[in-house]
Symmetry: C2
Subunit: 340 residues, 2 copies
DNA sequence: CTGAAAGCGCTTACAG
DNA sequence: CTGAAAGCGCTTACAG
């Protein structure tokens, strides 16, 4: 059985296709009697307008292309959730893509998004994404919203958190508790999030008149395994750190595993603060002190920026910066209530 | 600047639209010279075929509608990830929907999927989803694949794990360790996953000639808060259990919180096994013994079933059942090495 | 092997 | 307020 078309509805209701279309698009200039006949026909036939046809003809779409850089990272669940909720609230739908931090895969998905003529693109760019990859969307009149990470030298709407400040507060907290050798397991330096969090680390050290010690600064890639390996490296140092600030939730998981396997007690022997607070962070062996990001709001805000841009194509470019919040639990050693 | 169309490519290459279309669709019957001219033109103009137009004309789509019941549940990350990977491997895209365990929202999204004329529908049905909600897709020739949960009395392809056996093994493990009062915090009884896991619990008790004790069986809803509340209820019992089997990862999180707040030591004072093994389960205060589901494979298999059904619309209905695996860590008390 | 023509299911000026 | 007609960008018999 094929779907009912607008022609079926029109003949069932005894009107023209144009009238059916008007009713469905809430055009007020339709006689109430005809409107009711059309609605009855729609009901009777179980008619669902074919969106491909509508999109083609109206040259507009209500589909948002959402390109996530690593869908396996649970950080993005809540972000996606926020995008979905806001999109749903405005009758928009999501085409989900996962670039897997792979530039080639991202490019393929960007081609798909262009072929789909999405209404707008919300993207967590991977490392290497250039402005030139995204400019064509702007030229086609398809707004682009950057989420979580910026692309430097690209003027485009974006929503992110204040990574530098979040990291600064985390490290300052450790220093205030008396830690003197605070290590940093950083995120990818190719990403603004990785760089900004490292800058926050530097800022806190500088404020405390502490000199950064290169051996205590380890470059990770935001994935679990790098957190694991780099923590082992830090533990193997002749003079290990007394605290570690880890730049995201997955690497923190790796750090926890390394510390557990080595039998290092947290916070007694090693204080720990992680970027990203997850719903399960309080249940860790040592409840995690963490920099909490408003992830759901991040996703929602991306949709709001997109809608704003759709409504006002020439509005000035806006970057929305949301605040993080330090959630103090036990892994930082605050409860030990001792100055080292 | 508007996108290039097939007409632009045709005139640039000096051929007809039909030839351009043939080249793009890998029709072998095209002269190599013309083919090259067309490909050059595509390149030069940055042409991306309009998918809405293709879909409308060809009456076929490469979009999979993916309806998830609760996107906030991290269990589904990995499932979505598997669907995405398999879809990507076959040049298919995903329209993501989140029913939020809300039947009304699910219905709206099903209408959207119909309007999109998706190639197929992969759905984690919420409680209350009836066969009648999905039959229309079959009638339209749109295959439906059930994921994770079944709809009883509906003959349709599905992929799930052996919930009953997974639960049975978990509870048997606790009984073998000497636990005698094993409680169960169940999932929603309206869902096959909730019912099957409860049945596995009953089976293990029966095999050990133990009588189920109604007060030890608490009905949850697969969300964190119910795990929390019901664990408190169990702890408040005049004769509390010596072990709890919790039916999913979120409720386990709630149980852990309750046990922590009450200062109950796991596994010394309370053994614990949870359904769902998550990447962070080993880092809990007491590393969690858990029933691991092959979530990624679940997602992949759903796509495979869909592709099979697309290729052979009349093949017999298939339900793929994947096995779970009990991951023994510490929360069950196995390492205590004592019979209670 | 190639092109002219029809048509997928809609929306939208246009005329009345 | 309503309908006939054109057309969005493609694909696909059909004829040559």
């Amino acid at each position: 059985m094929a779907s009912a078309t607008i022609n079926d509805v029109a003949s069932y209701a005894g009107v023209s296709r144009a009238t059916v279309s008007r009713v469905l698009n809430h055009n007020p200039a339709v006689d109430p009697t005809l409107r009711d006949r059309v609605l009855d026909a729609v009901q009777a036939l179980g008619y669902q307008p074919n969106r491909a046809a509508r999109r083609l003809r109206a040259q507009s779409s209500n589909v948002i292309g959402l390109v996530i850089s690593d869908i396996q990272n649970p950080y993005f669940i809540s972000v996606i959730s926020g995008v979905e909720a806001a999109a749903y609230a405005h009758q928009m739908n999501i085409v989900l893509c996962n670039s897997d931090e792979d530039l080639a895969k991202e490019r393929i998905y960007l081609d798909v998004m262009e072929a789909e003529r999405v209404a707008g693109l919300i993207i967590v760019p991977t490392h290497g994404t250039a402005g030139s990859d995204l400019n064509r969307f702007q030229q086609l009149g398809i707004p682009v919203i950057l989420l979580d990470r910026l692309i430097e030298a690209m003027q485009v709407d974006a929503v992110k958190v204040d990574n530098e400040r979040g990291a600064y507060e985390a490290v300052k907290h450790l220093l205030d508790l008396g830690c003197r050798r605070v290590a940093h397991i950083s995120g990818s330096p190719e990403l603004t999030t990785g760089r900004d969090r490292m800058q926050g680390y530097y800022n806190a050290l500088a404020e405390a008149h502490l000199k950064p010690e290169p051996r205590l600064i380890r470059t990770g890639d935001f994935k679990t395994d790098s957190g694991y390996r780099l923590t082992l490296d830090l533990l193997d140092l002749p003079a290990p750190p007394d605290a570690i600030f880890v730049a995201n939730n997955l690497m923190t998981l790796g750090a926890l595993r390394a510390l557990r396997e080595r039998g290092v007690r947290v916070p007694e022997e090693m204080a720990l603060v992680g970027f990203d607070d997850m719903p399960w962070s309080a249940e860790f062996r040592s409840p995690l002190t963490a920099v909490s990001q408003p992830t759901y709001e991040l996703g929602q805000e991306a949709v709001h920026l997109l809608r704003r841009r759709l409504a006002q194509p020439d509005a000035p470019v806006r970057t929305v910066v949301l605040n993080t919040r330090l959630i103090v639990r036990e892994s930082c050693g605050a409860a030990l209530n001792l100055r080292r």
